[in-house]
Amino acid sequence: MKNEHTDDTFLARWLNKDLTSEELISFKKSKEYEEYLKIAEAMDAFESPSFNKEAVLQSIKNKIQSKQKVKKLVPNWMYAAVASVALLLSVVYYMSNSTETYITSFGEQMAVTLPDGSKVQLNSKSSISYKKSDWFDGNRTLNLNGEGYFKVKKGSTFSVNTENGNVTVLGTQFNVKTLPLYFEVLCYEGKVQVKNKEEIAILTQGLSFRKIEQKPSEKGMFKNSSPLWVDGETSFNNTPLKFVVAELEKQYQITVSSVGIDLKTLFTGTFSNKNLDLALQTICIPLSIKYTIDGNMVSLTKI
């Protein structure tokens, strides 16, 4: 009986009023009970020291605030934000300031849509380049090398700059061909202004402008509604053989050598861009020239 309250949680259960009535009755009979009861009752006389809740809260707030101030000055996420904004800006800057360039190789053609929706078709061995930032400012300017057929959307002035001169329009369709010492502009729709070092010409639909070497510029007329090269043919009108051969070399990636042939002979006609043998026949037969093909080499001789 004496050992009944000696299991290791007995007193805890007593304090918590968790004892069974039998346990309680027998515990009350024991001599220790009175002492335990006295201790338990005496505990009520104690209290913990007073705690200055408000003052401690105030000092916590002060500490938190002073810490927050330090944080607020340059919070960590700010670095990330600044870095990403800088990155974004530099990407935008790079994109708007970069120069877009499109280049075609031998026998290749390429259709390019410009930022304003205008379209350019590039012939073989040609290139255009423009600055994006110019176009965002409404300044429609590009550089051309080789030959391109332009379909310009209506809008502000559209300029094509070449080494041989500039072509400016306000929305039209035209073809520009620029090679060393060769400059040709054909207007298929609307009105085009051509300007080179010596003169300014205004072309309307069906009119062409051509300047070869140092000769005076020629103006001509044509009937096609779009350049033939777009459909895979190249046409010439009273053009020195030299430029015809050069065009042939560009379309087929060949080297043409000629012996005893006057390259100043004028040629009028059209050759295919798809069949070299056929193209050579259309050029050589009317001019009484013999040709032989050897890989990438084509040699022309007089009959």
Binding site: D8, N16, I39, F46, P49, F51
Partner: protein, 169 residues
């Protein structure tokens, strides 16, 4: 449960403070026996909670606070001999006891006080949290991260110890 309370909001923070600061202080005091040190521990716990408020869910805030006080105490408080200074309360308003009885009772309380001071820290904090703060065994178990059974054992031992030692003084 639809809306979760964020510890980062100052109203929630103040609610937690008004609910737990006093018992947190007592808990610290039962460990250290030093009121200034206890206030520091309470402060540190709340500041730590605020700085980590994003990571702490409301339901876990209370146990976080007690854990911080406990760890902080173990970390940087030298184990001194704790002398608890309890203020006596005028429990009994009736004064029909004779002076001899009153004197005896005062003596008994002093003895009790000394005995409690001499208890092991683990037993003392459990005993006082239950007797003075009226915390249930379950609550104490949560605060100390121990089982209810362990709390009951400590209670039992504490009371047994007090009874055995009080006669020797």
């Amino acid at each position: 449960m639809l809306e979760k309370k964020s510890v980062c909001e100052s109203e929630v923070f103040e609610e937690l403070y008004s609910d737990h600061s006093k018992s947190l202080y007592n808990f610290a005091f039962y460990k250290t026996g030093n009121s200034a040190q206890s206030e520091d521990l309470v402060q540190e716990a709340f500041i730590k909670m605020w700085n980590n408020c994003v990571k702490i869910i409301f339901e876990k805030a209370k146990s976080f606070l007690f854990t911080v006080v406990n760890n902080q105490f173990l970390n940087d408080v030298a184990h001194k001999k704790v002398v608890l200074n309890y203020r006596k309360q005028g429990v009994k308003e009736s004064t029909n006891e004779n002076p001899e009885f009153l004197l005896e009772e005062k003596e008994f309380l002093n003895k009790l006080q000394t005995t409690i001071s001499n208890l092991k820290e683990g037993q003392r904090e459990v005993f006082l949290l239950n007797r003075i703060d009226k915390k249930t065994y379950k609550e104490i178990a949560e605060i100390l991260s121990i089982s209810v059974k362990a709390v009951e054992k400590r209670m039992h031992l504490a009371l047994k110890q007090v009874r055995e030692q009080i006669g020797n003084i």
